[in-house]
């Protein structure tokens, strides 16, 4: 059991890291640096600056202050009994990253990197974004710290996440729609790297997840591990025990690594990452990188990725813009290969069912990304039964997804839509009562809401 004395500045970054990565950023065979030589000096400089600040009390005090006073940390843990009734009766605790300022866990990492940028004397930050949450968080931190900010976003995503585009612009950021390749997150990352290599003297690349070349996977993990450090203490304090399983959605993998890291040494705690299964892994239209991919190199690191026989990245598919990425952070590939974490796919339909259920049973509208973790909990809860205690990372809130969800459920302006019996949660559900099709209206086949 951990002590309950208030954390000293920096205690959050300093707790013993797992025994990986090595000094050159390798997690077993994964990770490393697969980038043009022109970026190596910048990555070395970033690594050095970060390693120095990680143990600098002035930096750490400021970082802690921002997390507390600006983000609103610690985020609470909420038990969701009415939702859990649909998950085999297992008890479910949500770690509420949706309540952070800007609405997701992305702010945890961004504040660290923006502070690092400011202290290293650079004046501009760039970022890639998929769902827009990382872009919004970066634009927010840039506004707070007086940095200029450019965000690259796939054109396809600017349409799916129009609300977040508007938020970024209100915050003073320049949003550049990316029209190359699949016009989604992967292409936004390519564009951001191109910008960085051209403007590296003035600019820091605030990377949004635990992927990319060293030091990003380790640094972003360190900034996100606050989620699990807090949650582990919170669960121990209220339950006197550790959870049986910790669940999180996995896009690039930052919220999952964030909540997993504190539990990695707790061997009895299962770590379960939920990937975006799209239309189903068997259809080929998905973003389940570990479940359906193979090892290779993408965006500066070796990890699992979706690729064809020629080594071309395959375009991913997911209803969730934040999970619609054909790569994954190298530490997840490593945790998978050593068997410490398990990864499963959740389809669009399963995620949206869980989304609707949390809305109707708990009054919480989750991000569609996070709904994948909730759908995983519904399955794992049934597997483990009523004695089980599950901790689920609710990585973000769903305001940005209202339009997508309305279209999915065929709500829009229509008032004649019956959301279906599965959502009438005053009835106690029976095992298997909630299935796609009767729980919620299916995807709206015709009109656009």
């Amino acid at each position: 059991m951990k002590t309950t004395s208030p954390p000293q500045p920096g205690e959050r970054l300093l707790p013993a890291r797992p025994g990986w990565p090595d000094a050159t950023g390798h997690f077993g065979i994964f990770g490393g640096r697969f980038v043009p030589e022109a970026l190596i000096a910048a990555l070395d400089e970033l690594t050095e600056a970060y390693e120095a600040m990680r143990v600098d009390p002035v930096f750490l005090t400021e970082f802690d202050r921002l997390q507390r006073d600006y983000t609103g940390r610690p985020s609470p843990v909420t038990e969701v009994e009415r939702f859990a009734a649909h998950a085999g009766g297992a008890r479910i605790l949500l770690k509420r990253e949706d309540l952070n300022h800007t609405g997701s866990h992305k702010i945890n990492n961004v504040l660290g990197q923006a502070l690092l940028t400011k202290r290293s004397g650079k004046t501009r930050v760039i970022a890639e974004t998929g769902a827009g949450q990382h872009g919004v968080a970066t634009a927010t931190a840039a506004a707070l710290m007086g940095l200029s900010c450019t965000v690259y976003m796939g054109e396809e995503d600017t349409r799916r996440q129009a609300l977040n585009v508007a938020r970024m612009r209100l915050l003073g950021a320049e949003v550049i729609p990316v029209t190359t390749g699949s016009r989604t997150l992967k292409d936004a990352i390519n564009e951001a790297f191109r910008d960085w290599v051209t403007n590296v003297e003035t600019t820091n690349y605030v990377f949004g997840t635990v992927a990319g070349p060293h030091p990003f996977p380790a640094m972003v993990r360190d900034f996100q591990r606050v989620i699990g450090d807090e949650a582990r203490e919170q669960v121990l304090a209220r339950e006197g025990r550790l959870p049986d399983a910790v669940l999180a959605c996995v896009g690039g993998g930052s919220n999952a690594i964030g909540i997993f890291t504190a539990f990695v040494p707790d061997e009895g705690v299962r770590l379960i990452g939920l990937e975006a299964g799209g239309d189903g892994v068997e259809t080929g239209r998905h973003a389940a990188t570990i479940t359906g991919g193979s090892p290779g190199v993408l965006h500066g690191a070796r990890s699992y990725l979706l690729q064809d026989d020629n080594g071309q990245t395959i375009e991913s598919h997911s209803i969730s813009a934040g999970l619609d990425y054909p790569g994954v952070g190298p530490e997840h590939s490593y945790l998978h290969d050593i068997g410490r974490a398990e990864y499963r796919a959740v389809t669009d339909a399963e995620a949206m069912e869980a989304f609707a259920l949390l809305c109707r049973t708990e009054g919480i509208i989750p991000a569609i990304e996070s709904a994948h973790a909730l759908a995983g909990a519904m399955v794992v809860g049934k597997e483990l039964g009523p004695e089980a205690l599950l901790l689920v990372n609710l990585s973000g809130r769903g305001d940005k997804d209202v339009e997508t969800a309305s279209r999915w459920f065929g709500l829009g302006d229509r008032e004649d839509v019956d959301p279906g019996p599965g959502l009438d949660t005053d009835q106690q559900p029976t095992e298997g009562a909630v299935t796609q099709g009767d729980a919620v209206a299916g995807p709206d086949s015709g009109e656009t809401a």
């Binding site: 043009p36 022109a38 590296v200 500066g300 020629n310």
Partner: protein
């Protein structure tokens, strides 16, 4: 014996820099790209950098991206690349493959080295593979007798110039500007500085300059301080703008005059 070093030394013996033409396989299609490579050789290119199409070309600007995107969508793969290698060798130039790392890793590093050598390729340029991560490639290339060309950049420290050039065989690719491929109005003075620093680190190794050279005058300028001049986007633009193999040949002739002036 390095085929690349040999050809660059031959140019040097003629009192000029070598001309290195980049063209990606598969644009406008495989046959068209091979015809363009042969036209580049006819026009005076000494070495052809044969581009392997890749879905995420992080070091390339819009011109090359656009052409490569077409090739990727058409499913162009390593077999097509090896055909281009054979054709360029038959045309009398030295073929060197330029590939982002994942297509090679996916094909199999040893298999790639063996097949490339069998096709008559001199070696490979790997823009996103630094020597620190290249143990497998170095071993396979050594085994197959292939050259390996890594990149140096204006931001490379003296220590990295040393370790990178030590890992190279054939030549070292000096990426002259901080940025991506594409044509530029002027050759940056960073190029000359980088070449001087690189020579200081490795006096025996040929230094070829790429990124931003697009015409004979710029080629002449670069040729005055480098062992080879690498031109990519300008060639690709000839194809994108519909001037085909004739446009490529004419550009090569202009550039070939440049490296001789």
């Amino acid at each position: 014996m390095s085929h690349l070093a040999e050809r660059i030394a031959k140019a040097k013996a003629e009192g000029r820099a070598a001309l290195i033409a980049y063209l990606p396989v598969g644009y406008p299609d495989v046959a068209g790209s091979i015809a363009a490579m042969i036209a580049a050789v006819d026009g005076g290119a000494d070495i052809v950098e044969i581009g392997v199409p890749y879905s995420d070309p992080g070091m390339d600007g819009p011109v090359i991206q656009q052409a490569v995107d077409v090739a990727v969508r058409a499913g162009v793969g390593m077999r097509d690349v090896l055909r281009a290698v054979e054709a360029v060798a038959a045309a009398g130039a030295v073929p060197v493959v330029m590939s982002y790392w994942n297509p090679i890793e996916r094909y199999g590093v040893e298999r790639f080295a063996t097949d490339l050598a069998a096709a008559g390729g001199a070696g490979a340029i790997t823009p996103d593979l630094i020597p620190d991560e290249a143990a497998d490639w170095m071993a396979a290339a050594e085994q197959a007798g292939l050259d390996r060309v890594f990149l140096v950049a204006p931001s490379s420290t003296a220590a990295r110039l040393g370790s990178t050039t030590a890992a190279c065989r054939g030549f070292v690719y000096a990426a002259s500007t901080m940025g991506v491929t594409g044509t530029r109005a002027t050759v940056s003075d960073a190029a000359q500085k980088l070449v001087a620093r690189t020579r200081a680190a490795a006096p025996e190794l040929a230094v070829c300059v790429g990124l931003g050279v697009s015409n004979g005058a710029q080629a002449a300028e670069v040729a005055s301080f480098a062992d080879g001049v690498i031109v990519g986007s300008a060639y690709v633009r000839e194809l994108l703008e519909g001037r085909g193999a004739d446009g490529v040949r004419a550009l090569s002739e202009d550039l070939a005059k440049g490296v001789r002036s």
